[in-house]
Amino acid sequence: MAEFIAYLIAGIATGAIYALAAIGFTLVWQTSQTINFAQGEFVMLPAVLVLLAIKLFGAPIWLGALIGIAAFILIFGVGFKLTVVDPMIKHGVLPLAIATMALSIIMKEGAKDGFSAEAQNFPSFVPSQTIQVFGASISLQHLAIIAVAFAVIGALQWFVGGTRLGRQMQATAQNPTVARILGIPVERMVLLTFVINAALAVVASVLISPIYLAKFSNGEVIGLFAFIAAIVGGFNQVRGALVGGLIVGIVDSMAAAYISTQYRLAVPLVLLVVVILLKPEGLMGRKEERRV
């Protein structure tokens, strides 16, 4: 039993990371009905930019963090929306999705050539102590990630449901045409979504990198698991990312423990197929209207 709890807690800790990365998928999906295949790289890059700023300017950590984060939000929040999404969105989602694939190559190779091909340590804002819960070990870093994941998703839910700005954003996501008629500044709302997406990627990056290290190729693994999490949880709901992330984390941990380490990756994927066949919109997802 203690063993089971240990696996469960490890799964929740990992799942919170996937959840944090998966929010971005749901945000981009809601506003542009497309899949950002560079989402994993979005989570990889901020940490690299922070380290790069520290290295280039010899800046202290806080300043480096500030420069790196500001640069990232500017380029991959505002810039990404204006230069990639805007010109392409009217031509359907597929070319845009492919363009994000190309973007992911650029980000990955850029991080490798511009910074380092090797993994680097990333300073943690949380002490790396370990505490015992029900006989299982969990680090403060993981606890912080779990707390932040819940807090961020709670805050987003509150923002979307409880504030004027948030409701405008939600209306834009659901039906831009109607939103425009209602006098909502649709363009600004979409931009806001992309900025929030970039800011969340920064949060995820800063929290994850002390544990996973900062490396150009990290986006591949995180991106894949976050993608699976978003599908399982439901692409069109922010809270779907949380539920999906936790489920995928736990399932992955249990698969490694009780099924097979060689086929560990298969288990979350089988889960994904089952969810799609039984509830295609995801566990938390809203059914999307079907045009007849």
């Binding site: 091909a117 990290n218 380490t261």
Partner: protein, 378 residues
């Protein structure tokens, strides 16, 4: 239709350029610079660049400057094959790289057919068992290294049971397949056999599994950053058993990344800039000065590969491609003849190497060599 003519014309021009400057000797390095092998490949490439710069600064090989070209394989066998073919078409003197066994397997027949030496960084046992006369390693093969680990586990660690954790790629699987029979021979029980993914980020579940197996020691055979992540996860789960590894686990990068969690790690080291041989430490200093990071064993391998070519050329006193392979086969290179080889190295008939190696331990964030193991056939 017209477009097709143009395409064909451009293709012909772009792909068919003959290139070989007369006063230079061209060396092509075919290496993993992107994809999963990028870290190993970048180290290897830097090692090669360092050696080439040194040799050229001292007047080149037999008076000819080396012209070095790096082709990225994207860690993909098909691309590797293309790159090796291109290297040979362009008249490379020898082929350097790659490091991953899959891409080596896909490209070695090409060099063999062209009768050109291919000096690779692969450690998988199978590579040298195919009777290829033109393939040469730059490090001990897993078949040579693993018996030493098994001995170490039995005699020094005195482990009755071992948990094995390995990365499921050609490197990790090769090592795992090589150590299991050796452990059996030594009468050591394998308590648990854990495969992990290349690029895996989270090792909590694996660490818990190993903790619960309660073996006397843990044998860790992973790539650099995965090693570091695993060591951290193991520490977090409170695994107190000795962590035993082979070369990578005790490498500078792992120690840097794992921090405190690396202390107490022990094992066998093939190549190391911490080795108690001045030439190695000297290499480490030069490398860090030039590239601003600490090399792992792949940096050393790339460096040595170039010097193997230099030694063979100077030995045969001419630029004969086939001769490089013929000269290397069965040779013993001594640092007194060629300082760049760093330590005495015997090349066996099948391309395997035999040389001294080390037992080491990580103490206070530094790799400390505890003893030197002799060559297998001294």
């Amino acid at each position: 239709m017209k477009r097709h003519w143009i395409i064909a014309a451009v293709l012909t021009a772009g792909l068919g350029l003959p290139a070989l400057a007369q006063d230079k000797v061209k060396l092509v390095d075919v290496i993993e610079l992107s994809g999963p092998g990028a870290t190993s490949g970048t180290n290897w490439k830097s090692g090669v660049d360092l050696a080439v710069a040194e040799i050229n600064a001292k007047g080149g090989i037999l008076g000819k400057q080396i012209e070095i070209v790096h082709y990225d394989t994207q860690s993909n066998p098909g691309n590797t094959r293309a790159a090796v073919q291109r290297a040979i078409d362009e008249g490379t003197y020898a082929v350097l790289g790659p490091v991953f066994s899959g891409p080596i397997g896909a490209s070695m027949q090409i060099a063999q057919r062209a009768e050109i030496a291919q000096i690779v960084g692969g450690e998988a046992a199978g590579l040298t068992k195919q009777g290829n006369q033109y393939l040469f390693r730059t490090s001990l093969s897993q078949t040579a290294a693993m018996p030493k680990i098994a001995n170490y586990l039995k005699n020094t660690v005195k482990a009755g049971s071992v948990a094995v954790v390995w990365v499921n790629n050609d490197f990790g699987k090769g090592g795992r397949d090589a150590i299991i029979p050796e452990l059996e021979k030594a009468g050591i029980k394998v308590a648990v056999d854990v495969a992990t993914e290349q690029g895996q980020a989270d090792f909590a579940a694996d660490a818990i599994k190993i903790k619960n197996a309660n073996a006397d020691a843990v044998f860790v055979y992973l790539n650099e950053e995965e090693s570091a992540r695993f060591l951290r996860a193991a520490k977090q789960q409170g695994i107190a058993k000795p962590m035993i590894g082979e070369t990578t686990l005790l490498g500078a990068k792992v120690i840097e990344l794992a921090g405190e969690a690396a202390n107490g790690v022990k094992g066998h080291v093939g190549l190391s800039i911490e080795a108690p041989i001045p030439a190695f430490q000297e290499f480490g200093k030069k490398f860090i000065a030039k590239f601003n990071y600490t090399p792992d064993h792949n940096g050393l391998k790339g460096y040595m590969a170039v010097y193997m070519v230099k030694w063979a050329t100077e030995k045969q006193k001419k630029f004969d491609k086939k001769g490089v392979a013929d000269t290397l086969r069965g040779a013993t290179i001594k640092p007194s003849e060629e300082p760049g080889i760093l330590m005495e190295t015997t090349i066996e008939q099948n391309g395997d190497l035999d040389r001294e190696s080390f037992l080491a331990e990580v103490i206070n964030g530094k790799q400390v060599i505890t003893s030197t193991l002799p060559k297998l056939k001294p």
